[in-house]
Every structure is written in C-alpha cells, then in structure tokens.
C-alpha cells in the first residue's frame, strides 16, 4: 500500500516537475530578444553620397559604433 502511494506520489511529482520545466521553457521562448534595429540613416543632399560631407554614407562605412549611429541605450527595447 505504502509502496503504491509512494509510486503514485513520485509519478505526480515527476509530472509536476516536467510541467514546471515546460512552463519555464514557455516563458523563456521569445523572452531573450535581440537588441533593437538601428535607426535609419538620414537624408542626403542632391550632391549625392560621395565626398566627406555625406554623413550618412560615412556613418554606414565607419568602424566605430558611435559614428555608425548604432543604438546606444541598452534599455530601449
């Protein structure tokens, strides 16, 4: 009798643990989202993208995250 109760209890606990793990996974799914997309680079005058004065093209080519105008506030989702 005792063995049957223990067996039933362990099955119940096992199922509960599996259910809890599944609910954790459900919570995790989609919770780890990548950072935000960078803002659009700004407009360009009629002289076009060539030349040092074209800030958007310079930003697009820069190796620096600041000059590239990438997101700088980590808490903006």
């Amino acid at each position: 009798m005792l063995a049957a109760v223990l067996l039933a209890g362990s099955i119940f606990c096992g199922r509960f643990a599996v259910a809890q793990a599944a609910s954790l996974e459900t919570l995790l799914a989609g919770a780890l989202v990548p950072s935000s997309s960078p803002a659009l680079l700004g407009p360009i005058t009629s002289t076009g993208r060539t030349g040092w004065e074209c800030k958007p093209e310079r930003a697009a080519a820069s190796a620096s995250v600041h000059a590239a105008q990438l997101p700088d506030d980590p808490n903006i989702p």
């Binding site: 780890l32 950072s35 009629s46 697009a60």
Partner: protein
C-alpha cells in the same frame, strides 16, 4: 584739383562695379535657344528645387510633403548620383510614413542605380527588419559586409538579422568582430551572449553578459538573460537573484518586468 578728385571717384566706382559683377548668378543663364537644351536646363532646375523642398520637409517632419517631392525627382530620372539619392531620400520619407514595402522598393531601385551605396544598404536592412523580410535583409547584409568588412553598422546589422533568422554562428562571428574594434559596446556583448546561449555555450554567454553588465549595470535585458543562462547552468538561486534585479531595472519595460517576475516565481526556493 577738382578734376583729379572726379577722376579718382570714377576709378573707385568702376572697381566697385567690377567687383560686384564677379558674383555669378545662382543658376547659370542658358546660352542657347535650343528647345531640348532649354528643357534639360528646366529639368535640372526642377530637380534642384525639389531636392531643397524635400529636405526642408524632412527637417520639419512633414514626410508626406517630402515623399511627394522626392517621388517627383525620381520620376524625372536625373543622372547619377541624383537619381539614387532621390530614391534613398524617398525611402526615408516612406519609412516614416510606415510604408515599408514602398520604402524597400525605393531602396532597391537606388541600389540598382548605385551598387555600392552603403547607406542605402543599411537602411534597406532596417526597413526589411521592420517588414519581417529576413531573406532580403540577409542577402543585403551579406553584400554590405562583403563591400565593407570593417563597417560597424554592417556587422551589427548582419548579426541582428542572423539572430532573428536563427543563424547563431554568423551572429557570433559578426558581434565578435564588432567587439574587437568596439570592446566597450555593451549591446554587442549582449547580442553575442544570445548567440552563445543558442549555441549551447553557456559559460561564454555568461561571460559576455557579465561584461555587458560591467559596462551598463542597469541593463535590464542583459540582467534577465544572465538569469536565464544561470538557470540553464543549474544555478537556481543565483538565477532567481538576477531575475529579481532585472525586475527592478526594467521599470521602463513592463513586458520584461512581468516575464522576469514570472521567471523568479517559477523557480523553487532552496
């Protein structure tokens, strides 16, 4: 004496007039009577005027007016670089009007005219992410990185597209390269950690998240992600502490605060 004074005044007056005439008019006066040439002058003038009107509209946030001006410039098919530039500017106006499909079309047309227009590539990837076209975003990002492998925006954009598309290996490479030149960029540490987590490298993910939090201690998403990684590593108590702290740091992000609270509550106590 009076004659000499008069002569001097005349000389000075002539010099002033000559100096004034040195200024050229804003638009060169057409020196032709040919109808096609005059038409070409008129179109060139219209292109310049509409560019100015469109940029002025951009500056005051009147995206509808800006789109109308740049669409007209594009329809006039001016020579390069004006054609691709008008399409690029048109796409910015469309994107602000949430007309993402039109924006993508305009940027594709700009890139067809100028194959190495990096700013157009950067904006097309951002627009594609907004409209959920990960396939085109990835193709453009690959081209962008190939043209300029050092570009921070190229690496960030492709890394982001790769993370969204489930290509964690490419994301890891791109964010790793970005951090090589920008080691204090907390957001890239966070994205690199997500890639490592998806690849099952929890120790590397934990290291990157701790680096992100060292740089930005109130980075709530990094704090939350650290809780997740610690949970994966079996450190339940430490994970619960990180979720509690993420809740406190996520005051500006109610969705994250709720998920962090649910995660904290779902973990059994010691």
């Amino acid at each position: 004496m009076r004659v000499l004074l008069l002569a001097a005044l005349l000389v000075v007056s002539a010099e002033i007039r000559a100096a004034a005439q040195a200024y050229s008019p804003a638009t060169p006066v057409p020196r032709t009577t040919s109808a096609p040439a005059l038409r070409a002058y008129a179109i060139a003038r219209e292109v310049e005027e509409r560019f100015k009107l469109g940029l002025d509209a951009d500056a005051r946030g009147d995206w509808t007016a800006a789109a109308a001006e740049f669409a007209r410039v594009a329809a006039l098919r001016p020579p390069e670089p004006k054609g691709s530039t008008a399409l690029y500017d048109l796409a910015i106006a469309y994107a602000h009007l949430h007309r993402y499909d039109d924006a993508a079309r305009a940027l594709r047309a700009a890139l067809a005219l100028d194959h190495e227009f990096l700013a157009a590539m950067a904006n097309l990837i951002a627009v594609d992410l907004s409209r959920g076209d990960l396939q085109e975003a990835r193709a453009v990002a690959d081209r962008y990185v190939a043209l300029d492998p050092q570009s921070a925006r190229a690496l960030y954009s492709r890394g982001l597209v790769a993370l969204h598309a489930g290509d964690a290996a490419t994301a890891r490479d791109d964010f790793g390269k970005l951090l090589h030149t920008n080691p204090s960029y907390a957001i890239a540490h966070y994205d690199l950690a997500l890639a490592e987590e998806r690849l099952g490298n929890y120790d590397a993910a934990e290291r990157e998240l701790r680096a992100a939090l060292e740089l930005a201690p109130a980075y709530a998403r990094a704090r939350f992600a650290l809780g997740v990684v610690l949970l994966r590593e079996g450190h339940h108590g430490a994970a619960r502490d990180e979720f509690s702290r993420a809740m406190a740091d996520a005051s500006a992000d109610p969705a994250l605060k709720n998920v962090a609270a649910a995660m904290r509550d779902a973990i059994k106590g010691p």
